[in-house]
């Protein structure tokens, strides 16, 4: 019975510094490297190999969460990433809020504010002014959720959520809910959305469920918050870097990880 962890049948090959660096970096082994290292280099190349199709599954769920976080209508209008954007600093959410505030003010006030705002905000204000219904979250509120609840898709999303809620893991619950919330136009609309969701082949009016109360969406009782899945509190990580794992309000803290990054320390 061989000892798999540290085989004693053959000499374990020596690995010099240059070879080690090449193995770690995935570059060509130096000419003097022992031949036993070649299979290892091949195995390491496989670790870096082109992604398999099953490694690219699940993108839709994450994108749904992304859409939910950033708001679908604006994002759909974004131009593709281009050279013109390369020098741009990320637009903080606070600035986005400032831009929204500018848009809601009158002309004189806008000009006054705009003069004091950074260029990114100006551009952002322009971007969302050009997009239809910039304040589209209110517009997507309950009334419009009903026509969106079309047959099979809505029914499927609602069923998936119900199933995940009852039997799923935290991740499955979070994914199911965020997908559903994105389709419903917001977490607050989920109850109304699902109330009208009919099984495939049935129109909402044929739905066996009673018609929803018009203001049922105010407090969707029983629906967990979509982002409550990770429960890091009270669980110290063994090599704790000090920062809690989940920050419910990431924008205000600006520190998503406890790892300072070497080249961009300022924030």
């Amino acid at each position: 019975m061989p000892n798999f962890l540290w085989p004693g049948h053959r000499d374990v090959p020596m690995i010099g510094d240059t070879s080690l660096a090449a193995l770690l970096a995935g570059t060509e082994l130096p000419p003097g490297a022992v031949s036993e290292l070649r299979p290892l280099a091949e195995a390491l190349a496989e670790l870096r190999a082109r992604p398999a199709s099953d490694e690219l599954e699940g993108e839709a769920e994450t994108l749904a969460a992304f859409r939910d976080q950033f708001g679908a209508p604006r994002m759909a209008r974004r131009p593709p990433v281009g050279k013109a954007r390369s020098r741009r600093r990320p637009l903080p959410v606070k600035a986005a809020a400032a831009a929204a505030a500018v848009l809601s003010l009158g002309g004189i006030a806008t000009a006054a504010y705009a003069g004091a705002l950074p260029a990114t905000v100006q551009r952002f204000a322009h971007d969302i002014a050009g997009a239809p219904a910039p304040g589209s979250q209110p517009a997507l509120a309950p009334a419009s959720a009903h026509p969106a609840a079309t047959g099979g898709r809505a029914y499927g999303l609602c069923t998936a959520w119900a199933h995940a809620k009852a039997h799923g893991t935290a991740a499955q619950r979070a994914v199911a809910f965020s997908t559903l919330a994105a389709a419903a136009g917001g977490a607050g609309n989920v109850t109304a959305y699902c109330a009208t969701a009919a099984p495939p082949g049935m129109s909402p009016s044929q739905s066996p469920q009673p018609s929803p109360a018009p203001h049922a969406t105010g407090k969707p009782s029983g629906l967990p918050a979509p982002h409550a899945s990770g429960k890091p509190t009270g669980l110290p990580s063994p090599h704790g870097t000090g920062a809690p794992t989940v920050r419910p309000t990431p924008h205000s803290t600006g520190k998503p990880s406890g790892l300072p990054t070497p080249r961009h320390s300022g924030h």
Binding site: R38, L47, P80, V81, L91, T245
Partner: protein, 191 residues
Amino acid sequence: MAGILGAVIGQGFESVLAAAQEGSEVAFSRLWRDSNPALLRYLRVIAPQAAEDVAAETWLQVVRGLAGFRGDEQGWRAWLFTTARRRAIDEARRRSRRPEKAIEETLPGWLPTAPDTADLALEQIGTRSALSLVARLPPHQAEVILLRVVAGLDNQTVARLLGRSPGSVRVAAHRGMRTMAGILADADVTL
């Protein structure tokens, strides 16, 4: 034979990140497609029972924190894998608290899964086989190898991520490589 995974976005990373932070789905999709395969490979070794779940949870957390993130591509990967690691640890704890789970089912998150040497020799060393090779290493060595080779992080970053000294990370990488070379030599794998 430089890898396909790794710093594939390179120079354009800053603008891709900035666009994603402004809500560009196209840009965020690029980040996802660039990083998810590496993330899954890492998790398949350190959290084999729940790799997909932990990856999904990791991304949800990243989405929530994205607007507040500042850093370059190395920093982005460090953040992503730090998040994944914490989620994996939480997941392992959650499993270990479940009374109905046998202890054998809770431990493998940090234990190597060991296929037969014959399997290694018979099939081509594909990515999955290479991952099972790494999974045979002691957990710390396996993690160091994955973070260096698959995540593409430098020694310093890995040390910080794991809360170890750079020296100990370097030693772990060296030992891990030697062990794997020994296993492959023993299995008589020729490619």
